[in-house]
């Protein structure tokens, strides 16, 4: 009995000794939590430039409690280093850190245009091999200077990385950008007959709402940005330049790749074409002309959408049919037409079909020029006609067949509801 008791005591002591961890223990206050990584390539030096955005623990904690940025300093620490490889550049960061850089909580990777056109293979291996990154990582491409981008401020969330992360998570499917994370990118890249794409972020300068914010974003002022911001196409207005402008992030458009190299950008409207085919769009608003040709427009929402890609090979030539089915409501009318006749309903549906077809055709046209198959038509052919696919030579699909591929786009629109009112509240309507 006594020996048994002694044994139990020893066992408990042993467990206590080792469950705390010996070699790999890590305390939270020993870690520098990286929130965003920006990576770009410098073609002249042939070097990577890595910028990490790290939480400054005191600042963020205090600010978060009071529901805003209350500290006097920035919530994030930015470190920029260079190296021959991504890993090498990341190692250099240690020279600036009092804590161990911890990448497992990082969710945002921003890739510069130069790196993306050089080829994503330069960083993909590092991002997938080491245990500190996950395939759920959100990767973005930016045309702006990566280093300057990460210096931007945030409007709704506590810091820029948080803002980007929440934009990606919360506005999912309501957005005008390609929906893809690292896993989707790799899956599309490795699939033969399919090319990957990534969402685009860019910087847009605005006058901050309070002078305090201007101080916080002050670091963003120095250093001239390389690319001019071209993000004004939504409302078209350019704000007046004042001293205290701060950059704020904007997620808009799609970066299209040819294999792992950047081929070009799609803007928000073209991205809709991609999203309709990928079935990942809801709450999209399409503007059409009045069905009777009167002045004014009608806006229709897409509530639900589904699509199918049908393939057939006729006489050794592939043919693709894209079938998109969507349904939605009327959300706005500025014309004075009575919409509630069967003819007008059908006309509206037809015009909406034309608009959606136009989006898809735009993307198709562009990607044919770039020789990149982001819809994955080739992959569909491979799945449905493996024999035909085996006979193709390497590169033949992308360079010869896809640009001339016969694609039929069929859209079926259904307008289901009218919103809360039937007729617009103008007096002309009754005349």
């Amino acid at each position: 009995m006594k020996t048994r008791l002694l044994f139990l005591c020893l066992l408990t002591a042993y467990t206590l000794l080792f469950t705390g961890g010996c070699w790999d223990q890590g305390e939270l206050e020993e870690l520098a939590l990286v929130q965003a990584i920006g990576i770009d390539y410098l073609p002249q030096e042939k070097k990577f430039e890595v910028t990490t955005s790290i939480i400054r623990p005191g600042e963020l904690g205090a600010g978060g409690m009071e529901g805003g940025i209350e500290g006097d300093a920035e919530p994030m620490r930015l470190i920029t280093t260079r190296g021959k490889t991504l890993s090498g550049a990341m190692e250099q960061q240690n020279a600036f850190l009092s804590r161990r850089a911890y990448y497992a909580h990082n969710d945002v990777v921003i890739v510069g245009e130069k790196l993306a056109s050089q080829g994503m293979h330069l960083i993909l291996d590092r991002l997938t091999r080491e245990r500190d990154t996950r395939l759920t990582l959100n990767v973005f491409v930016t045309g702006d200077n990566v280093k300057e981008f990460l210096r931007g401020g945030s409007r709704l969330e506590i810091s820029l990385p948080q803002e980007i992360r929440q934009m990606k998570l919360r506005t999912n499917q309501r957005s005008l950008r390609g929906e893809a994370n690292l896993l989707d990118f790799i899956r599309n890249l490795l699939q033969s007959g399919q090319d990957p794409y990534l969402p685009v972020v860019e910087m847009r300068e605005e006058t901050p709402t309070s002078p305090r914010e201007a101080e916080i974003g002050e670091t963003g002022k120095d250093g001239k940005r390389e690319n001019e911001v071209n993000g004004e196409n939504i409302n078209g207005e350019k704000e007046e330049s004042t001293e205290n402008k701060v950059g704020y992030p904007k997620m808009y458009g799609t970066a299209v790749f040819r294999e792992d190299r950047l081929a070009g950008f799609l803007d928000g409207y073209e991205t809709k074409g991609l999203l309709y085919v990928e079935e990942s769009l809801i709450d999209s608003r399409e503007t059409i002309n009045d069905p009777e040709g009167k002045p004014g427009e009608i806006v229709l929402i897409t509530i639900d959408n589904s699509s199918r890609i049908l393939t057939e090979v006729v006489n050794g030539k592939p043919r693709i049919t894209v079938k998109i089915e969507e349904e939605g409501d009327i959300c706005c009318q500025t014309s004075a037409t009575n919409l509630f006749t069967p003819e007008n309903f059908r006309r509206m549906e037809q015009s909406k079909e034309e608009v959606i077809k136009g989006y898809v055709k735009d993307v198709l046209e562009k990607t044919r020029k770039w020789e990149t198959d982001i819809f994955g038509f080739g992959n569909k052919i491979k799945q449905n006609h493996p024999g035909y696919w085996e006979d193709l030579e390497k590169g033949e699909w992308r360079e010869e067949i896809y640009p001339k591929l016969e694609v039929e786009i069929q859209v079926e629109s259904n307008i289901r509801r009218t919103g809360l009112i039937e007729r617009p509240p103008f007096y002309e309507y009754y005349q």
């Binding site: 010996c22 070699w23 996950r134 395939l135 759920t136 896993l183 799945q383």
Partner: protein, 377 residues
């Protein structure tokens, strides 16, 4: 000395765990060979192969419900030849168990505890396994009763969470390149039936030894079911190419998903499940090894040799290969496939040969039902 007894149900659970542990974590149907998106078909084929080996291994054992395979081989082939044949079986326990614990340690060190020495992880696992084997097979049986529902629950939760990201279109085209690649990929998995040789030692400890084949068969079926679902979901989530490139594909596919914002990192479940089942597998291995050695050398008790065996085992596991490259080389189809099949076929060809020879020459090799002979020793 009383013969320790486990229920046939517990025997079935042990069979599932022996087969599923390494197979679901390294997923050889996907990572070896060329089946790619048809990995599930390889899983089904592998089940056919494993079912055959269940009949070879357990089918012989049920004719001798009171003897372990070591005693059977002496009975059938005589003392010297029988001893040599059973040495091969005992060697396979030692080596397969050392490989299994090494894979687990490599995953732990590669994925979580980078700075922890290999010998510590391996040693810790083997120490608890020795402790469990010291307590005897009845204790291991009750342990399995406890763990198995947990294990299944963990599998179900991880399968369910994978469904959120699964794109089943990745499984197409189905069997487009014929059965060749599928066969090639199932080869390695069939070789895992060498793990089932422990059942030869366990048969005399069953409450109903004559029903052992059915139990083992259903165990293999459950394991195959788990394997097929794992393969399907891994391919659906990662895509066949990325899955093929991974060291631990199932684990990786779980790392690649986010169920919701507050439910992520579900791979922990699989690590726990793997740890549990590895513990059961290792204790079964060392228990059977200890029993077998004791019977071979006519020892009274198997317990005193467990600790020395554990030390040899740790050393073998750590020193069997210096790095992951060499270790992965061992698991290539044409290495492990051939090795595993040899481990089963070589002893059992002799054993079945001896059995059939005795049967044909009219000496009844089977035990008589009423014969009172202890399975101990």
């Amino acid at each position: 000395m009383r013969v320790e007894k486990i229920a046939n149900r517990q025997f079935l659970y042990i069979t599932v765990i022996m087969l599923a542990t390494v197979v679901f974590s390294t997923l050889p149907v996907l990572t070896t060979g060329n089946a790619r998106q048809d990995a599930w078909a390889s899983g089904l084929l592998a089940f056919a192969g494993v079912a055959l080996f269940v009949n070879v291994i357990v089918g012989l054992g049920v004719h001798f419900p009171r003897c372990s395979v070591v005693q059977v081989s002496r009975k059938l082939l005589g003392n010297a030849a029988g001893g040599l044949v059973s040495l091969i079986i005992l060697w396979s326990f030692l080596h397969l168990a050392s490989l299994e614990v090494r894979i687990y340690a490599e995953m732990i060190i590669g994925g979580f505890l980078t700075e922890t020495p290999l010998v510590f992880v391996v040693g810790a696992m083997i120490m608890v396994a020795v402790a469990a084997a010291y307590a005897g097979i009845e204790v291991i049986g009750r342990l399995v009763d406890l763990f198995f529902p947990l294990l299944i629950a963990m599998f179900l939760v991880s399968f369910f969470s994978l469904l959120f990201e699964a794109k089943f279109i990745n499984l197409q085209p189905v069997l487009a390149r014929g059965l060749g690649p599928v066969l090639e990929s199932s080869y390695n998995t069939i070789a895992y039936s060498s793990y089932l040789m422990v059942l030869g030692i366990l048969i005399p400890h069953l409450t109903r030894p004559r029903k052992a084949t059915a139990s083992a068969f259903w165990g293999a079926a459950v394991a195959a079911f788990i394997l097929v679902i794992t393969a399907v979901l891994t391919v659906a989530v990662l895509g066949p190419e990325e899955g093929f490139r991974s060291v631990f594909p199932f684990f990786r596919s779980l790392r690649a998903i986010r169920v919701t914002e507050f439910l992520e990192r579900t791979e922990l479940l699989v690590i726990f499940a793997w740890g549990f089942s590895l513990f059961v597998a290792l204790s079964t291995f060392i228990y059977c090894g200890g029993r077998g050695v004791a019977q071979l050398f006519n020892l009274k008790d198997y317990r005193p040799i467990l600790l020395p065996m554990g030390v040899i085992w740790v050393a073998l596991s750590v020193h069997s290969s210096p790095d992951m490259f060499e270790f992965r080389g061992l698991y290539l189809s044409y290495v492990f496939g051939a090795y595993g099949l040899f481990l089963v076929l070589f002893p059992y060809v002799f054993l079945w040969g001896g059995y059939l020879f005795r049967k044909m020459t009219g000496q009844n090799p089977e035990e008589e039902r009423g014969e009172e002979k202890s399975a101990e020793r």
